[in-house]
């Protein structure tokens, strides 16, 4: 029996993809995990992934991406300017709007009154960073650990193309998600766990749709698709043994199955058969490993309290943040939390408050928790949505109520850990938080930066499909935002 790494795609496809440049010697090296230089560093075994990765030593071993689906208002959270109090109620000047295309939802409005946030802001941390005092008190407490980027921008101004763009690098369907790219490039360090995990929490506002493609594998092999960890039912689909059939019985069944498959291998000498046996073993181990990870009983109270009262609620963002840390500890490479409900076209003041109640404490807790465990050093944490929102009110502006439409010309995200500067702000927008005036960061640049922190040159992480060397960042140029790196 020859060694065969089960997490690699089939031998045939592997050879096809890498072309004919790999001889048998190289192949056997690649099939033996212990011989691979691991991107996770010393003492960690790596399964799958490309031999050329890391392209250079990366600061991050893993990513936790808190994706705020629906387009959170950068104006009401991070990109505040005191002058906006004076602009409140004034018409958005044409000189600011320029020839901006507006979505069909507000393009018919006769008036575009600017709205200053209806919240208190305060300045926090060493650099006196403006943060919404009412909504993000906990985040305010960790500003010295994160970099806030205020100059993200995207071409898409509608949910479907925008959320597809930022997660897969293209507005149209069919491309692999960032997590799938990482699984393909970096493999996994815990073969009993998926390399790319997705968790979804519901949020309380208008729920825009999510799509499997956001964590899908596109043209990459399906094994790279994100695996949804779920709060209700089985944590991973089809994970539980059927009722009446316990783990011991399953073990016995798999032993018989292996013996039978071995007989078949003797007949056909097809390494695929050995690979299949390994997959069944992996499945068996996953069945014990995953449920243990989902069970937070063993977490001390002070940790649960750190993430806030909702931690007790399965499916909440708070619970997912805590689970994300547990996954990170177990070697999952890419953990993406989708929190829905940020699409505040109307009643923004009350709805954004609800949303922030759900996310502020857990997000800040995750930073603190990782930091106190020393894991922030090599965990890249990302927080943000698919676009921002307009300074002008969508619908009627009243004393205490208004809405905001989608805005792609600028929006804010924050990053922390793994070589990202602590306590830093990057990029500037104009007084209306409408246009970027300094250091624009396209979402492609953002994705290139995430890859860079993992030791990947975004130009070199490619997969040949339909005649092209496809990459996450597409054919347009992308630049690593080096200024935010320590």
């Amino acid at each position: 029996m020859q060694p065969f790494n089960p997490l690699l795609e089939t031998r045939r496809q592997f050879l096809l993809r890498t072309g004919n440049g790999i001889g048998a010697a190289a192949l056997s090296t690649m099939l033996n995990p212990s011989l691979i230089g691991s991107a996770m560093g010393e003492g960690m075994q790596q399964y799958g992934g490309l031999p050329s990765i890391p392209h250079f030593p990366g600061k991050a071993k893993r990513v936790i991406y808190m994706f705020m689906a629906g387009g959170p208002s950068h104006i009401d959270l991070f990109d505040y300017k005191p002058i906006q109090r004076k602009l409140h109620g004034t018409e958005l000047p044409d000189s600011v709007r320029q020839d901006q295309r507006l979505t069909g939802m507000s393009s018919g409005q006769k008036s575009f009154p600017c709205v200053a946030p209806m919240f208190e802001f305060g300045q926090y941390g060493e650099h006196q960073t403006w943060v919404n005092k009412d909504l993000l008190p906990h985040t305010a407490g960790v500003v010295d650990k994160i970099t806030i980027m205020k100059s993200l921008h995207t071409e898409a101004v509608n949910h479907d193309p925008a959320i597809t763009f930022i997660n897969t690098g293209a507005q149209q369907q069919g491309k692999p998600s960032m997590g799938a790219w990482l699984s393909y490039g970096m493999g996994s360090v815990n073969e009993n766990m998926p390399g790319y995990v997705v968790m979804i929490s519901r949020g309380r506002g208008q729920l825009q749709a999510l799509y499997d493609r956001l964590w899908g594998s596109g043209f990459l092999p399906a094994k790279h698709q994100g695996v949804k960890l779920r709060s209700a039912g089985e944590p991973v689909l089809y994970l539980k043994n059927p009722k009446g059939f316990d783990r011991e019985s399953r073990r016995g069944q798999l032993d018989s199955l292996e013996q039978l498959n071995d007989l078949n291998y003797d007949k056909f000498a097809d390494p695929e058969i050995q690979a299949r046996i390994s997959q069944y073993e992996l499945a068996f181990r996953m069945q014990s490993e995953v449920p243990g990870l989902m069970d937070i009983e063993g977490e001390p109270d002070h940790v649960k309290e750190l993430y806030g009262p909702q931690t007790d609620k399965p499916g909440s963002f708070a619970r997912n943040c805590l689970l994300a840390r547990r996954m990170a500890e177990k070697g999952v490479r890419y953990i993406q939390l989708f929190h829905r409900g940020w699409d505040q076209h109307g009643a923004l003041p009350s709805k954004i408050r609800q949303q922030c109640e759900d996310i502020d404490q857990p997000a800040a807790a995750l930073i603190k928790d990782l930091d106190q465990r020393g894991m922030l050093e090599d965990t890249l944490v990302v927080f943000g949505g698919e676009f921002g929102r307009t300074i002008y009110s969508q619908g009627k502006l009243t004393k205490d109520n208004h809405g905001r439409d989608h805005h792609g010309r600028c929006f804010s995200m924050w990053m922390a850990g793994a070589g990202v500067k602590r306590g830093f702000e990057y990029g500037k927008t104009d007084d209306h938080s409408y246009n970027i005036v300094e250091n624009p960061v396209h979402i492609r640049d953002m994705n290139a930066t995430i890859l860079h922190q993992l030791g990947i040159d975004h130009n070199k992480l490619t997969f040949k499909y339909q005649g092209l060397d496809q990459r996450l960042t597409g054919v347009e140029e992308a630049h690593v935002v080096k200024d935010i790196l320590a």
Partner: protein, 1035 residues
């Protein structure tokens, strides 16, 4: 094609002895040089895709390697000089450089890119094995002998039908010793219906077929008539050229049939959006781009989409040529913003055979139900009970005196104290309270029905009111203030308000008579309001001439002035919604009191109004002497008797109402399928080059006309410059790509990989064919046969190459690890759909119904609502035999497809996919071990074994192997599984509750006559066999 001998043997090459530009050189140049020195860009004024250009630029010196600049630049240590430049991330291996050197030494000859030159056949060859054997021989390998017959029948049955052979079919084949046995088998498979399904499934990936619209809400759509068309086309062996023409341009064919239009839906399968804020034109351009990409990819293996923003970097397709191709698809009538609910126009109504059959059956039942009622009436008319009733009622009537009543009363809803409910006194149909409860109030001496703005009643009785028939509605009305709402209606809010109502609007009274609000409807309302909180008698008459002028409204006998709000009625107002009092189907609850509502099947005359306002309509008839009663009078009496006194008759009425409802249900949902349709010539949409592909940057200086790329043959003479011309062009014999691409896909289906392994790309970046002569030979043969698909497949599966054993010899692995030469047959995992179908087939659960709408088998909870817009969309699992249809019919929601299939590499079908990945993962093991669908199949499989004529353990295990692997179980296998069986039997016997739990999975019933422990233990064995690598693999 010129072949040159190379002097140095290329190490590791399977093509010892010759160098071929297209096979050996072009892939290197294309991948590493063309991006900057190719069709799209000429950095430093250098093109390397053209020999003349390269020679002119002075970088190539044919025959002189040392003098050739190109070689120097490949080998230099100076990073500024090095090619390809380091930032390109491309490097040439020493072997590749050696190939280029050899090529230059031999004269640096170019060939046109192989796939753009028309294929040439070879008349001297009469079998594909010739090409395969030649290369195997040259490589010094020995091909495997023919596989054993059991392997052969399982292989070819799975490949051609996606289903395993039954043990009976296997035995038949084994025992057929005639030399034609295999051929007969292949003929049988190609003639089976499952063949069309199998072929359709592959086509569905390419055609990006789905049951939902993909973007934003990803709402439902109905394209399954298109899928049915595909299945039929394959099963009837429609020639591939016709198959092509109808799908690309079926709508443009002269006198296009419904079926041809349905076929054109190929290019409506793409993703569409309904997102509120979206830019319609941006989306529309995206749809057209998708059609270009898919059409070019599926038929030509060209990545034309690369030229949307700039000239193609590798293939001879300029940006302008892209938009010329784009223009073929840019003149369609479908909009950018599309619906999230159902089919977006243009579409055709599709006669659905199943539906027609059911309708015909229902109409027959209605006729027989009418007859039954007629017979019953005739019987009752003569019955002594009826006569007794008349006599009794007549006496009462004569005592009270009757008023002359208008004829034509069809429904009457009086409210009589102290009744606890009320009914249609003429048909006997009782009111069903849909909302609220029955409340009465007083009206003078009588009682009345009180509607509080939340109550509504329905009546399941047929109502014959139509747009072209007269009718009248009368009643006593006491509005509560100035209400708005429907007093009486038969209307479907959700079908553009089809139907009619007796309507109040801010205290004014009138009617809607609607086919489709507002474009086909009539609305008349009085200009005055009814007096609030007072009883008034209102009569509304309609003359059936579908004009507003034919509506008259009388208040207390006086003709009221009215206002026409809509006068466009011209079609049926039939709806399956029942007659209601108090509201419409879902809205417009009315507030007030009402009594004595009547519906007449004629327009009452003014002089009849007073009579309609009071008394019992039959009192006058009853009061008259029996001899003076007209036949119509007698009928009314009988109706009254039956409606109020006869329970059996009420049953008949209800039965008929049920039938009518079923008919209306069927008619309400005509089956449609989206199609392609072009704007007329005078409204043609202009096409321009879009600068950098941006929808809002058309270069208006030049109008782009539909045309094909210059590197390919021109449109056939006389062909129109539209999609029809395009389809004819694709299928003309001189087209170098269509036939090659098609046969290559068939090859992939049967051999796991294409002869051109980049199945979706035949351009410069493609993998050259492993057997170029064979590819051409097949392509020419395919065209010459009249594009006969079944014949082609038969040719492939009857070849020696196909029928070989799949055993891998160490020699094969050393010399040909990718099995390019096919010295042994390929072995590969079945695709996800076939793994599920296999489980259903061996278990006996499979429901072989062909075609029709998607079905919803088991799916874990909350998969849809976790991601759906607004979070409320639930997957509603089907019941019964729909759980066991072939997997190709599984409802395919493209933003959240069936997870057990995605895990097995099924594409989401948001975009065209020509070649699936084939992976092997732990999640797949979890599916076949724990998914209820597979567990239930194991339970049913176990039951099948228990029910078989085999009564011993070994016999049953052997039978299970015959089902799942088509072969007999070996002694060792029987031994292993017997042990497994015994162990589980013991365990289940000691824990009978566990056995019962284990057997509970799935909705199909279990045969309770089998001992639970025994059945459960067999279920473990069955599941183990279904999970064998051999079961999951096409060997």
């Amino acid at each position: 094609m010129k072949k040159l001998l190379i002097l140095v043997l290329i190490p590791g090459s399977l093509f010892a002895g010759t160098i071929d530009f297209n096979r050996d050189v072009r892939p290197i140049l294309s991948d590493t040089c063309f991006k900057c020195h190719g069709p799209g860009e000429t950095k430093g004024d250098l093109r390397l895709d053209d020999r003349e250009d390269a020679l002119d630029a002075g970088v190539l010196s044919p025959g002189d390697v040392a003098k050739s600049e190109i070689v120097k630049r490949l080998k230099t240590a100076d990073l500024d000089e090095l090619m390809p430049p380091p930032e390109s991330n491309k490097t040439l291996t020493p072997k590749q450089i050696q190939i280029l050197e050899t090529w230059i030494a031999e004269g640096a000859e170019y060939d046109d890119h192989w796939s753009l030159v028309s294929p040439k056949g070879d008349d001297a060859v009469n079998s594909l094995d010739h090409f395969i054997d030649k290369r195997i021989g040259a490589a010094g390998l020995r091909p495997q002998p023919e596989a054993d017959r059991r392997t052969q029948i399982r292989r070819v049955t799975l490949d051609l039908t996606g289903l395993p052979p039954t043990p009976k079919e296997v035995e038949q084949f084994i025992s057929d010793r005639s030399p034609e046995a295999y051929e007969k088998l292949v003929d049988r498979l190609l003639a089976s219906k499952a063949y069309g399904e199998r072929m359709a499934l592959a086509w569905m990936d390419a055609a990006r077929y789905g049951d939902s619209s993909v973007m934003h809400a990803d709402g439902p759509r109905f394209m399954w008539p298109w899928r049915d068309w595909i299945i039929k086309a394959y099963n009837s062996n429609m020639p591939f050229d016709q198959f092509t023409i109808e799908q690309i341009a079926g709508d443009l064919l002269p006198e296009a049939t419904v079926s041809q239009k349905v076929a054109s839906g190929f290019n409506r399968n793409h993703a569409t959006s309904d997102e509120g804020g979206a830019f319609a034109e941006e989306l529309r351009v995206e749809y057209v781009a998708d059609r270009v990409q898919t059409t070019a990819n599926v038929w030509m293996g060209l990545t034309m989409e690369c030229a949307q923003c700039h000239d193609h970097k590798y293939d001879p397709i300029s940006q302008k040529e892209y938009y010329q191709f784009f223009a073929f698809f840019n003149n369609t009538t479908d909009p950018g913003m599309q619906t999230r609910n159902g089919n977006q126009a243009p579409f055709v109504e599709v006669p659905d055979e199943e539906q027609m059959k059911r309708l015909a059956e229902l109409h027959k039942q209605v006729t027989s139900s009418d007859q039954k009622m007629e017979d019953y009436r005739a019987t009752v008319a003569k019955s002594p009970e009826f006569q007794k009733w008349i006599t009794k009622k007549s006496e009462e009537a004569r005592k009270n005196g009757g008023t002359k009543q208008p004829e034509g009363l069809i429904h009457w809803f009086p409210v009589n104290a102290p009744a606890k409910d009320f009914r249609d006194e003429l048909t006997g149909s009782a009111a069903v309270a849909e909302k609220g409860k029955f409340e009465v109030s007083d009206r003078e001496t009588s009682k009345a029905l009180k509607l509080n703005g939340g109550t509504q009643f329905k009546f399941d009785t047929p109502v014959n009111v139509e747009f072209n028939l007269p009718f009248s509605i009368t009643g006593w009305i006491k509005p509560s203030g100035k209400p708005t709402g429907a007093i009486l209606s038969k209307m479907d809010d959700k079908a553009s308000f089809r139907g009619f109502d007796f309507w109040m609007e801010g205290g004014k009274i009138g009617t809607h008579i609607v086919n489709s609000w507002q474009k086909n409807a009539l609305k008349v309302v009085t200009t005055e309001t009814l007096k609030p909180n007072q009883w008034q008698h209102v009569v509304l008459t309609y003359d059936g001439k579908h004009k507003a002028s034919g509506v008259k409204i009388f208040i207390d006998g006086r003709l009221a002035k009215s206002h026409v709000q809509s006068d466009t009625l011209k079609g049926t107002i039939k709806t399956n919604q029942p007659l209601r009092i108090g509201s419409r189907s879902t809205s417009s609850n009315w507030k007030g009191e009402v009594d004595d509502l009547r519906l007449y099947s004629r327009a009452l005359r003014e002089e009849e109004l007073a009579a309609a306002a009071g008394g019992d309509p039959i009192q006058e008839i009853l009061a008259a002497p029996a001899k003076d009663r007209t036949p119509a009078d007698n009928k009314t009496l009988l109706a009254r008797y039956l409606g109020s006194q006869d329970k059996a008759f009420k049953g008949l009425v209800a039965a008929k109402a049920k039938l009518e409802k079923q008919i209306a249900d069927l008619n309400r949902k005509p089956v449609t399928s989206m199609i392609m349709q072009d704007n007329p010539p005078n409204k043609m949409r202009m096409t321009y080059v879009l600068d950098r592909g941006a929808y809002d940057s058309p270069k208006k200086e030049e109008v782009i006309r539909p045309a094909v790329p210059k590197a390919l043959p021109p449109l056939p003479e006389g062909a129109p410059a539209n999609r029809l011309g395009l389809a004819l062009w694709l299928t003309q014999p001189s087209h170098p790509l269509t036939a090659r691409v098609a046969v290559n896909r068939y090859w992939m289906m049967l051999f796991g990989e294409g002869l051109v392994r980049s199945v979706g790309d035949f351009g410069a970046q493609s993998t050259p064919p492993t057997h170029p002569g064979l590819l051409d030979w097949l392509a020419v043969d395919f065209m010459e046969s009249g594009w006969d698909v079944k014949r082609m497949l038969k040719q492939l599966v009857t070849s020696k190459t196909y029928r070989r054993s799949s055993k891998i010899e160490s020699m094969h692995r050393e010399k040909d690890s990718e099995n390019e030469l096919l010295a042994h047959a390929p072995r590969f995992r079945l695709q996800g759909e076939f793994i599920r179908d296999h489980a259903l087939a061996v278990s006996g659960l499979l429901n072989p119904t062909i075609g029709g709408p998607g079905v919803k088998p088991y799916q874990p909870a909350n998969i849809w609502n976790e991601v759906s817009l607004n979070g409320g969309l639930r997957y509603k699992q089907d019941k019964g035999d729909k759980l066991y249809r072939r997997s190709m019919y599984t409802y395919w929601k493209r933003s959240s497809p069936m997870p057990n299939m995605l895990i097995f590499d099924s594409p989401s079908r948001e975009k065209c996919v020509i070649q699936r990945q084939r992976t092997n993962t732990p999640l797949q093991a979890l599916v076949t071990l724990n998914d209820p669908q597979f567990l239930e199949a194991a339970r049913a499989f176990a039951e099948r074994l228990l029910k078989s004529d085999k009564s011993d353990t070994a016999g049953r295990i052997d039978l299970a192997y015959r089902y799942a692997t088509a072969r007999l179980a070996t002694g060792r296998e029987i031994e292993i599984l017997t042990q497994l069986y015994q162990k589980n039997l013991t365990r289940f016997q000691s824990a009978p509750e566990a056995a019962k739990e284990f057997l509970k999975v799935g909705e199909s019933p279990r045969d309770e006559s089998f001992d639970a422990s025994e059945h459960a233990a067999w279920m473990v064995v069955a599941q183990t066999i279904m999970n064998l690598d051999e079961s999951l693999t096409r060997n």
